[in-house]
């Protein structure tokens, strides 16, 4: 689920941080810049693992801040295709399921990757939502939100940032994981234990 990535970045250290020891100040700046942000094709940055190298502390003319070139390692959340992850159900509707692990919410299970055959029982109150259930050997196994769901990662995509968005559209998701439940051992844990 997690990988280390070695990154090199040139960063500007504002003068109000000059009283701190250098590595603390740089770590603080890097955290503000990278923590909880998505880097395309690398994943979601969880944490700064360590700082390997700091060099070039020079000052540009006319500027009060010093500029450093820092090499550091980041803990990135980037599941590989085929990894099995356990998550909780966030919502389910006619397009499929949405799952979340507490720090990452954009996990989508589309209809064609649900266990086959599945059927949707629409919710009488809200026609966009419903409960999916799996038919196996003449029994119905509903996917309700009671226990955690095990899914396999099918693909990860990093949609490009849209130039314009309509007012009512859902907030932009920079990293979307598509998962699949279509295999033995996947789905709510209570089905298999």
């Amino acid at each position: 689920m997690f990988f280390l990535s070695l990154i090199e970045h040139t960063l500007c250290l504002p003068p109000h941080l000059l009283n701190l020891p250098l590595d603390e100040a740089i770590k603080g700046e890097l955290e503000t810049l990278f923590l909880d942000k998505v880097i395309p094709n690398l994943g979601l940055c969880i944490s700064i693992y360590d700082i390997r190298d700091i060099k070039d502390g020079f000052i540009y003319p006319g500027d009060g801040a010093s500029t450093y070139t820092v090499q550091f390692r980041l803990v990135m959340f980037r599941p590989f295709v085929g990894e099995i992850i356990v998550g909780k159900l966030k919502s389910s509707d006619a397009n499929g399921l949405k799952l979340s692990i507490s720090f990452f919410d954009d996990i989508h299970i589309p209809v064609h990757l649900l266990p086959n055959p599945s059927s949707l029982m629409p919710n009488p109150e809200n026609k966009h939502q419903g409960v999916w259930s799996w038919e196996f050997q003449d029994e119905q196994y509903p996917i309700d939100g009671k226990d955690e769901i095990r899914f396999r990662v099918h693909s990860i995509s990093y949609p490009p940032i849209p130039i314009e968005q309509e007012k009512e559209a859902k907030p932009f998701a920079p990293m979307v994981i598509t998962g699949s439940l279509d295999y033995d051992g996947l789905g709510p844990i209570s089905w298999w234990v």
Binding site: L6, H9, E83
Partner: protein, 146 residues
């Protein structure tokens, strides 16, 4: 920003949990003083209630030593350490082409070895497990006695 090396090594969930713990993350109310960001706390909370919260470095090393004879890919070993499957049906999606690469006795041996070497998830102590009824590991016995 320049990416020098996109993949400088995979980390098991346990290693990330250990790293966050060494920075001061914990589940009790002293967490607000620790130098750990709220987003890192969410990761910590997720890892603490998953199967890795009781693991130790020694148990992972022991597992890696013992699973060498099964010729598993690195990704499969990582998946097993993170999920800790305790039955045949749980290990099936993890190992690709399970029937072709390993005979069913080998798979059962592997499942038993996983249950013995990697510690139990604390929430699942009360749940019955069909394959493990005959061989109960010391961890399970202790917890069931409590």
């Amino acid at each position: 920003m320049k990416i020098v090396q996109a993949n400088a090594g995979a980390l098991t969930n346990f290693e990330v949990l250990d790293f966050l713990r060494s920075r001061g993350a914990s589940t009790d109310p002293t967490r607000v003083i620790a130098p750990v960001a709220p987003s890192e706390f969410k990761v910590y909370d997720y890892l603490v209630q998953s199967a890795v919260c009781n693991q130790t470095r020694e148990s992972i090393n022991e597992f890696l030593k013992r699973c060498e004879k099964y010729d598993l890919a690195n990704a499969e070993k990582l998946n097993i350490i993170n999920i800790r499957p305790s039955s045949l049906v749980e290990i099936d999606p993890i190992i690709e082409e399970c029937e072709k690469r390993m005979k069913s006795e080998d798979v059962e041996e592997l499942v038993e070895m996983v249950v013995q070497v990697l510690p139990e998830h604390p929430a699942s102590v009360g749940i019955e497990r069909g394959t493990d009824v005959d061989k109960i590991s010391p961890d399970q016995e202790l917890m069931e006695a409590n």
